[in-house]
């Protein structure tokens, strides 16, 4: 690439970056911190996945074979907390760290020391949370939703749960601040808001959601803490409090949280599908507005998580209608992705395969979400495996496949080497097949009447639970291919040029592979930006 950048790269090698362990502990570089986030996320994915494997093991057949019910409840609780706060959210922050400066023409994130701090909080938060398995009373077992009064019965791990959530929240807020400041202040001249790649857009909106709702969660768990230790009765009816109020506060955080987990995936899919369709994204502006609408709506639908608590008729109708409304912008996104492929020129490299699986399976999760919005029907679905199937369809082939599509898309850029495409394709097919064997039967179980969060079940649920468990074990094992492919790619392989993919557009593909330590030390020219923003 014959621009001043080519000279910038070798110059960066003289940069006084620390070496050895200091490079990581003192890290202020967006790529190093991004890498640490991604590695952390991967470790948590396997720990949370391990908990899921144990859950599926106990549920393989009726009767208690392995675990005490209390430990089983700890497994479901910890599986959720680890996957949400440890695996998915840090993966998004890692990708944001790597890609936002590169995609917007910035040298680094705006607040590098804050960046270091927000990452290094996480290992402490999760050490605290995971060590709760070894304290009297065991790990938290009241569900990741932490409903009082049940959560107040937690043993010695109760304050560990609360403080680890505070730490995770602080880390998320700091990360979100950094993202917003970077996007608002560090963009190259000429990188106007409506030229930004969708991944940057979705992350910007996600960051605002994080800042809006993480303090709400922190407030809610702090009230739990004072209820438990200091005699307050925020959530105890006997003292004039209200246990349902916790659910309202929690889900006021919880529903935007759902979109925090999925919006960056929308961004990645909006990068990957155009690249491998060799066609610009259909309806770029509509996509931006759709994400913004979804983010707005996410604040006014929270009570659909709690239709059975006994709300007034008017409230139930409101939350039913607002929830159904989310289907409109979500539909726009799915239609636009499909229209992007229409009359394109498609090829099916691993990122595209994951994006396509996302498209189909996330849509299935969307359909079951629409069904769940119907309040009378929700009375039958609520707290059954139908709900479990629904949110795993949006989180696993949704968020997780989105992360995988992103990693397989940008990994060559990060390392400078192409990975083993054949092995990654194997990873895809095993994941795509077994994720359905794992979660599709759970729709049947829920409809047939199996409640969620139970360690043992009536015998008529045996067959589909066995299928689901087999799918679970196979899905879990297949995931081992993922770090293996990444590890081999980091070690070496076929060198690639600036562009890893024929149809790729965007500033990150204008940089060398691997990119220089400080991404854009000289801002890209307007022509380069225009070439990247091909919509």
């Amino acid at each position: 690439m014959p621009t001043p950048l080519a000279h910038a790269a070798p110059h960066d090698d003289h940069d006084h970056k620390p070496h050895g362990w200091r490079r990581w502990v003192y890290a202020t570089n967006h790529k190093d911190i991004g890498t640490m986030y991604l590695v952390f996320s991967c470790i948590m994915f396997f720990i949370g996945g391990g908990a899921a494997m144990l859950i599926r093991l106990e549920l393989f057949k009726p009767g208690l074979q392995f675990f005490d019910p209390q430990f089983f409840n700890s497994l479901t609780t910890m599986h959720a907390l680890i996957m949400i706060f440890g695996a998915i959210m840090p993966a998004w922050t890692g990708l944001a760290n790597w890609m936002i400066p590169m995609q917007t023409g910035a040298p680094d994130m705006a607040l590098p020391r804050l960046n270091n701090f927000s990452f290094w909080i996480l290992p402490f938060a999760f050490t605290l949370l995971l060590s709760s398995f070894f304290v009297p009373g065991g790990a938290p077992a009241g569900g990741w939703t932490m409903y009082p009064p049940l959560v107040l019965q937690t043993g010695a791990s109760f304050p560990m749960l609360i403080f680890s959530i505070h730490l995770m929240g602080a880390s998320s807020i700091l990360g979100a601040i950094n993202v917003i400041v970077t996007i608002m202040n560090m963009r190259a001249p000429g990188m106007t808001l409506l030229r930004m790649p969708l991944f940057v857009w979705t992350w910007l909106i996600t960051a605002y959601l994080l800042i809006a709702v993480m303090p709400v969660l922190a407030g809610a768990v702090t009230m739990l803490l004072t209820d438990h230790f200091f005699g307050t009765t925020f959530f105890t009816a006997a003292g004039g409090g209200d246990p349902v109020m916790f659910q309202h506060i929690f889900w006021f955080f919880g529903h935007p949280e759902v979109y925090i987990l999925i919006l960056p995936a929308f961004g990645i899919i909006s990068e990957v599908i155009p690249t491998f369709s060799r066609k610009p994204l259909f309806g770029y502006e509509a996509m931006v507005y759709a994400v913004a609408s979804i983010a707005f709506l996410s604040f006014i639908v929270w009570a659909h998580h709690m239709f059975t608590v006994g709300m007034p008729l008017a409230a139930q109708l409101f939350f039913m209608l607002s929830t159904m409304l989310i289907a409109v912008p979500t539909g726009v996104k799915v239609f636009n992705w499909t229209a992007t492929m229409w009359k394109g020129s498609l090829s099916f490299e691993p990122p595209m395969l994951f994006a396509l699986a996302f498209l189909f399976l996330f849509t299935i999760g969307g359909f079951s979400g629409l069904m769940l919005a119907m309040v009378p029907a929700d009375y039958q679905y609520q707290d059954t495996y139908f709900v479990v199937a629904h949110f795993h369809y949006v989180l696993v082939p949704g968020s997780i496949f989105g992360i995988m599509a992103g990693v397989y898309y940008w990994l060559p850029k990060w390392t400078g080497y192409m990975y083993d495409v054949k092995l990654a394709t194997w990873h895809f097919w095993l994941s795509a097949i077994f994720v359905n064997v794992l979660f599709f039967p759970q729709h049947f179980l829920g409809l047939a009447g199996m409640p969620r969060r139970i360690p043992d079940y009536a015998v008529q649920f045996t067959d589909w639970n066995m299928v689901s468990s087999i799918g679970g074990f196979a899905f879990g094992l297949s995931q081992l291919l993922f770090p293996y492919v990444i590890w081999r790619c980091v070690r070496g392989g076929q060198r690639i040029g600036n562009k890893a993919w024929e149809g790729a557009h965007g500033l990150e593909w204008e940089l060398p592979s691997p990119p220089p330590f400080h991404s854009w030390t000289t801002p890209p020219s307007d022509a380069v930006i225009a070439r990247g923003a091909a919509h």
Binding site: P62, N73, A237, P280, V309, L447
Partner: protein
């Protein structure tokens, strides 16, 4: 739940789902769909569920059809060339924003109508207070002075212990059986006042289409009216995580004819009155049936 597309296991599962809709065999493979239940409301919920399901299937067929068509028809390996003019089309975008709105409105109307009906707790004929506790249920027939506890039955309780060595398949209605079922009459609008004693539970009987949280300090209302021709045993479970034995607090409702119910209630009220009475003369055998009769008939006999 709705796809008969690309991925083989999915297609198979969907086919199985559609093929076996009415079947509710004892085999687990047939356990695929929501029950239609035995009340007017539960049938309406089932109808709603099936309507929205088929709406989703229809949308799915169209959307997945276009996706699959794009994947097959516009393959680069088959020489497809990008038509870069197709990056924006206001008319199409307006259509696919507006049409879903109409579909949603069309779905919201029947849902709202059913919801209004569910929330109508007037004209009930029998009121029972249901209290969830760790881990079981208490049923209190408020007007009749009858109150008793309902727990997981002993056989299931023994079999469910870790390493019990008892095959769950050998236990009658494993985990779905109780010592004392809730007993109600057919064809009667029964109102439940649901609350919790310690933590939040949720009283759920799928066949009635009733699921309501049992929250300490609050009283929730729900009701059901079982079809006159559908007496029998109906089973459910606690549906809100409530601690260690959440999975082991089933609900069984024994729906009896009005006459049988009235007789049972009368008998039960007498027994409880006698049990609650202060130390009485030792020989009490003949008395109890006669004494509390007026109390028992007050609500039960007037049920119509």
């Amino acid at each position: 739940m709705m796809i008969r597309a690309k991925l083989a296991p999915l297609a198979l599962a969907a086919a199985a789902f559609c093929g076996a809709l009415p079947a509710h065999a004892t085999s687990g493979w047939g356990e695929l769909n929501m029950t239609q239940g035995v009340t007017d409301i539960s049938r309406k919920i089932y109808e709603l569920h099936m309507t929205i399901f088929w709406v989703c299937v229809a949308i799915g067929v169209v959307v997945f059809g276009v996706m699959i068509w794009s994947i097959i028809a516009f393959r680069k390996s088959q020489g497809a060339v990008t038509d870069v003019t197709r990056v924006h089309n206001t008319r199409v975008e307006i259509i696919w924003t507006i049409v879903p709105v109409f579909i949603l409105i069309a779905m919201a109307v029947p849902a709202a109508r059913t919801l209004v009906e569910i929330e109508d707790t007037t004209k009930t004929e029998l009121t029972i207070k249901v209290t969830g506790f760790q881990w079981g249920w208490n049923y209190d027939y408020l007007d009749d002075g009858v109150s008793y506890y309902s727990h997981l039955d002993r056989k299931s309780d023994a079999a469910r212990e870790l390493g019990s060595g008892i095959d769950p398949n050998s236990v009658d209605h494993y985990l779905l059986n109780v010592d004392n079922p809730l007993i109600v009459p057919v064809g009667t609008k029964v109102r439940l006042l649901i609350t919790g004693a310690d933590v939040i539970h949720s009283w759920w009987v799928p066949a009635f289409g009733v699921k309501k949280d049992a929250i300490p300090g609050f009283v929730n209302e729900a009701w059901f009216k079982v079809d006159t021709d559908k007496p029998g045993l109906y089973r459910g479970q606690c549906a809100e995580l409530c601690g260690r034995d959440h999975g082991f607090m089933p609900i069984v409702v024994d729906v009896r004819s009005k006459a049988d119910f009235a007789a049972w209630l009368k008998d039960k009220a007498a027994q409880q009155k006698q049990a609650a009475a202060p130390p009485a003369p030792p020989a009490t055998a003949p008395a109890p049936a006669a004494r509390p009769a007026p109390v028992a008939t007050a609500s039960a006999a007037s049920a119509s």
